[in-house]
Each structure stands twice: as structure tokens, then as C-alpha cells.
């Protein structure tokens, strides 16, 4: 068919627009029984922090209609152990690894970015800003443009690798947050992280997960994610990486058409670890059928008239 699936995110070229989402594919190697990592656009690794974290006590996950809630608590081995024990195994794989990282203060973010900056196997760093800022009363970094700007700027000067900022959907005006990240030097935006959510076991009158609140992911979240991708990609010039509920080629195409230059697959991997192949085949088939030579021609290609948002309902 000769469809060209490769995409560029700024200076970073990917074989195709599909990446595995952070937290849904471990440190990459756990996927190898199921996927040839070199056939993927890239792999976003489980969120890392300077000191690592043992994560939240169980239960950590609960299923909801069309989705799931998780509060893993960002369990991770810590940057140092990652660099020592995991990264060396990744270096031989010819694919783009993206290190997802977080902190509870600007300093922790900066230190993680600085430590990861030297690792040759990493093609980019992805900042998870949906974390409570412990120095500022536990409000999430990602919910306020000023603090997004501050933490992004700080990390920007700590690394020369492409820096992606992963946005939370839990904001009133995602365009403002997107612009703040762009102005602070982000190379790309990942949209979206999970949505804060809760479930209660009515028989036991207890929270379904130990942390009470967790993050909603999966197909239930998709329409919110497509909307955020559309709004964010129209607010900035840097590329947007779409994510949220993608399970099929049609889902992925929705994100590309809405404005995503690439996309990530998370929860769908739990249901079928081989779904990236099906998605990529479906995209190639769609392009061939529609006479599209370069998948990049689809980016933001939804027929869009004048922006005229009226009331919902």
C-alpha cells in the first residue's frame, strides 16, 4: 500500500504514531512476550520519581462502566535503580523510549529530569503534572497555568532532551494550561492523563480503592480526551500527543483528526496486549482506502467550521 506512517514530534521522528502509555506497559520489557517493541512508534515508561515509591496499599483498581479507576500510587523503582537495572536493557532496542517522571515539588521534578537527561536510550522526557504539589497545599501542579509554567520552565533548563508535558483533563480551561506549558518551553503536550474518580462498595459502605480517589481511564474517558486534544491542539503550535480510551484504529483516527500528531494506548493494552498491531494495521488500511499517503495528512483534518461553541444540553 505504501502508506507512510512515520511522524515527527518536533525534532523527534517516530516510525509510526503509536506509543504505549506510561503506567500501562511497565518498563517496556514486560511487553516483549506480546509485542516487538521495534514495530511501535515508541514506549512511555512507568512514571519515575527521584526516590521511587512503594505505591498505595491495595485495592488499587476498580472497574467502572466502560472504564477503570486506578490509584497505583505511582509505584516505581526510582530513577537511580531504573538507570542502573532497566535502562541498559532498553539501549539495544531501536525504538523511542520516553521516560515519564514526576515529583512532589519543583525541585524533585528538576532532579529527576537532570538524572534522566544523560541516559542515551531515552528519546524524550514526559512530565506527569497530575501530582499534588506538597509545598503548595497539595493542589495538583497541572491544574493552574502559573504552576505549570513554573515547573515546566525549571525542567526545561534541566534537560536538553525533548520535553513533553502531560496535561490533566481536570481543569476548567485546558487551552490556558496548554499555552503555559508551550511558553515555558515544552516540545509537546500529552493529552490526557486520567480523570479523578471514585467508586463505593455499597454493601460494605467502603471505598472500592484504598486511596478513595483514583484516575478514570479507558473508553469511558475517550470523548473527554478527544475534546481536550481538539482544544489544546488549537491553542498551541507544538505537537499534541493524544491519549484516553484508544482501543481501535477508529479511536486512534479520531484523535489524529482532532489534532493529535501521535497517540498513546494505555488501558486497552490490559484487555489485549496485541492491540497496537491491530490499530496500526487499521490505520494503514484506512489511509490506503482513503488515498492518504502520509498519516500526517490526517492530523487535525476534521472538517472544522467557525468556532462557535454554544450551550450544551
Amino acid at each position: 500500500m505504501g502508506v507512510n506512517l512515520s511522524v515527527s514530534l518536533g525534532s523527534l521522528r517516530l516510525k509510526n504514531p503509536l506509543l504505549l502509555a506510561s503506567g500501562c506497559c511497565g518498563y517496556g520489557l514486560d511487553m516483549e512476550p506480546y509485542l516487538d517493541l521495534e514495530r511501535l512508534g515508541g514506549i512511555c515508561l512507568k512514571g519515575l520519581s527521584v526516590k521511587g515509591s512503594e505505591g498505595n496499599p491495595p485495592p488499587r483498581i476498580w472497574e467502572t462502566q466502560g472504564g477503570m479507576i486506578n490509584a497505583i500510587g505511582l509505584q516505581n523503582v526510582g530513577v537511580e535503580t531504573f538507570l542502573r537495572d532497566k535502562a541498559p536493557h532498553l539501549r539495544s532496542r531501536r525504538t523511542a523510549f520516553v521516560a515519564n517522571f514526576y515529583g512532589h515539588s519543583v525541585d524533585e521534578y528538576v532532579e529527576a529530569a537532570r538524572m534522566l537527561d544523560g541516559e542515551p536510550c531515552l528519546s524524550a522526557l514526559e512530565m506527569n503534572i497530575s501530582c499534588p504539589n506538597i509545598q503548595e497545599g497539595g493542589i495538583q501542579f497541572g491544574t493552574d497555568p502559573a504552576s505549570v509554567r513554573r515547573v515546566t520552565e525549571a525542567c526545561r533548563s534541566a534537560t536538553s532532551k525533548p520535553l513533553w508535558v502531560k496535561l490533566s483533563p481536570n481543569v476548567a480551561d485546558v487551552a490556558a494550561v496548554a499555552r503555559a506549558a508551550e511558553e515555558a518551553g515544552a516540545d509537546a503536550l500529552t493529552c490526557i492523563n486520567t480523570m479523578p474518580a471514585m467508586a463505593i462498595d455499597v454493601e460494605r459502605r467502603a471505598f472500592r480503592i484504598s486511596n478513595k480517589i483514583g484516575g478514570l481511564s479507558g473508553p469511558a474517558l475517550k470523548p473527554v480526551a478527544v475534546r481536550v486534544v481538539y482544544q489544546a491542539s488549537r491553542a498551541v503550535k507544538i505537537p499534541v500527543v493524544g491519549i484516553g480510551g484508544i482501543s481501535t484504529a477508529a479511536d486512534a483516527l479520531e484523535f489524529l483528526l482532532a489534532g493529535a500528531a501521535a497517540f498513546q494506548v494505555g488501558t486497552a493494552l490490559f484487555v489485549d496486549p496485541g492491540c497496537p498491531y491491530t490499530i496500526l494495521e487499521g490505520i494503514a488500511e484506512y489511509c490506503a482506502r482513503h488515498g492518504i499517503e502520509n498519516v500526517t495528512d490526517l492530523v487535525g483534518a476534521v472538517q472544522d467550521g467557525a468556532p462557535m461553541p454554544r450551550c450544551h444540553e
Binding site: P58, R60, I61, I72, S247, P273
Partner: protein, 256 residues
């Protein structure tokens, strides 16, 4: 490994239980391993359900499961008609470690949906000529499972029911306690209460292997959703039921 499509060739329903026989590409497994199973429905429910292997015939391409209806996912699995498609990922998880040849007999303790993997284990031990005794506990006679399979397994099972309607009256750990000295190891799968009792009983006396349950996201180690606290060499950590388990040494398990 990949998610495969299986066909239901038989669904034998009794009360809330279904014994499902699936046909398709079946990779050789070990007792204690499980599959993530899901029918051809939409995104609700979304995730597969972990179900232990009851038995398999790799050459025929069939694998069997015993599913108890407890919620929406198992309700749908139990309702599958012959011919229906089932998506399965497996075998997954670490199996029960088999006793070394020549070891003293081992005890197998099963309760509820913990019985199926023990049946599979009993069959494997029989085939290898390794001696064992099977203990099964349940609330009433009607809740005892797989009695025919057990009858065919060579050794007389020890049955206990809480209401005394079949076998001994009381918990299955009582007869096990009385005979613990006969065994070189105890293998158990069942409700948490039973596993805790087995753990306590065996502590410092005989190795125990407990097969744990947890709510699972992926079933193959990437989501970190299924962890349980364990303690090894004095260090407490979380381990994944789907990857380091579902079978854990009783000495290590700390419960959530």
C-alpha cells in the same frame, strides 16, 4: 503470546457454577496458572477476568475452567452458549512448585473457586506418581465441587462442610491440622479466611503454598493493580499476584 479467540464447546451449568470447555490454540500450562477471559461483549465490562485452569488437552486444543457467578463478568461467562467466542490470554502467572520426587505426601486444600486449580494439581501429581491427600471444605454438601474428578484422582478426599451435611462437620483446616505431620508441604487455594488459617497452621512447621486472589487489570504484570504485601528477608514490599503469584510461599504473605 497473544490474546486468542476460543469457542465454547461445552458449558455445564449447576447452580451458580459453569464448567466451560473452550477450544482453540492452547499452550501447555502448569497447575496454578490462569487465563484472563472475556466474552465478545462491548466495553462493559471492560477487563478480562482471571480464571484458574481446571484442566487442558493441548493436542485437542481444549482448556477447561470452572466459573462461579459472583458479579457481572462471571455472570456473562457462565451464560455463554456453545459456539460463542471467548477471548483468552494465558497461561499466566507462576504455578505451584511440584514436590521433588520421593518427598513425603503433600496436602492439597481447596475451597470454593479455589478448588479448580487444586483439581488440576491433583491430576498432575497423580500422573507423576507423587503422593497427596486432597482436603475440600465448603459451607454445605451442595457447595462441594468436582467430586467426580476427585473420586477419579486415586486417593480418597477429605471433605468437610460447615453444616456437616457431607463429610466432617467444620472447617477443612481442622482435619488438616490433625494430620499435618504426614505432609511435606501444603498447597492451598480458596477464600482468604481459609488461606490465613492454612498459613497459621503451617507457620514454622511445614512449607505452604497459597494461591491468592486479587482484582486484576492486565493479568500479565504491567499495571501494578493486583499487588499484595509480602515480606522477604525482613523487607516488606508489594508483589504482583499475576506475575510473582498467584502462588506465594505462605511464610511471605502479609495480607492487605
Amino acid at each position: 503470546m497473544a490474546l486468542r479467540t476460543y469457542r465454547v464447546v461445552d458449558n455445564d451449568r449447576t447452580g451458580p457454577y459453569s464448567t466451560l470447555t473452550l477450544q482453540g490454540e492452547v499452550a501447555a500450562s502448569e497447575p496454578g496458572q490462569f487465563y484472563m477471559l472475556r466474552g465478545d461483549w462491548g466495553a462493559d465490562p471492560l477487563l478480562g477476568r482471571p480464571i484458574s485452569i481446571l484442566g487442558e488437552d493441548v493436542e485437542d486444543g481444549t482448556v477447561r475452567f470452572l466459573v462461579k457467578e459472583v458479579g457481572e463478568g462471571t455472570r456473562r461467562l457462565c451464560a455463554l452458549e456453545p459456539g460463542a467466542a471467548v477471548f483468552g490470554l494465558g497461561p499466566l502467572g507462576r504455578p505451584f512448585p511440584l514436590p521433588p520426587p520421593g518427598a513425603a505426601p503433600v496436602a492439597l486444600a481447596g475451597g470454593g473457586v479455589g478448588v479448580p486449580p487444586m483439581i488440576y494439581l491433583a491430576g498432575r501429581l497423580s500422573a507423576k506418581g507423587l503422593p497427596f491427600r486432597f482436603f475440600q471444605g465448603a459451607r454445605t454438601a451442595a457447595d462441594l465441587l468436582c467430586l467426580e474428578e476427585l473420586a477419579g484422582a486415586g486417593t480418597e478426599p477429605v471433605l468437610a462442610t460447615e453444616d456437616g451435611s457431607l463429610g466432617l462437620r467444620g472447617l477443612v483446616t481442622e482435619p488438616l491440622a490433625g494430620r499435618l505431620g504426614e505432609f511435606s508441604a501444603v498447597y492451598a487455594c480458596g477464600p482468604e479466611g481459609m488461606l490465613k488459617a492454612v498459613q497459621a497452621l503451617c507457620a514454622g512447621r511445614v512449607p505452604s503454598y497459597l494461591s491468592l486472589e486479587a482484582r486484576m487489570g492486565c493479568g500479565y504484570g504491567v499495571c501494578l493493580g493486583c499487588v499484595v504485601p509480602v515480606e522477604r528477608n525482613g523487607r516488606r514490599t508489594y508483589e504482583r499476584v499475576c506475575a510473582e503469584g498467584p502462588v506465594f510461599e505462605g511464610e511471605a504473605v502479609r495480607w492487605a
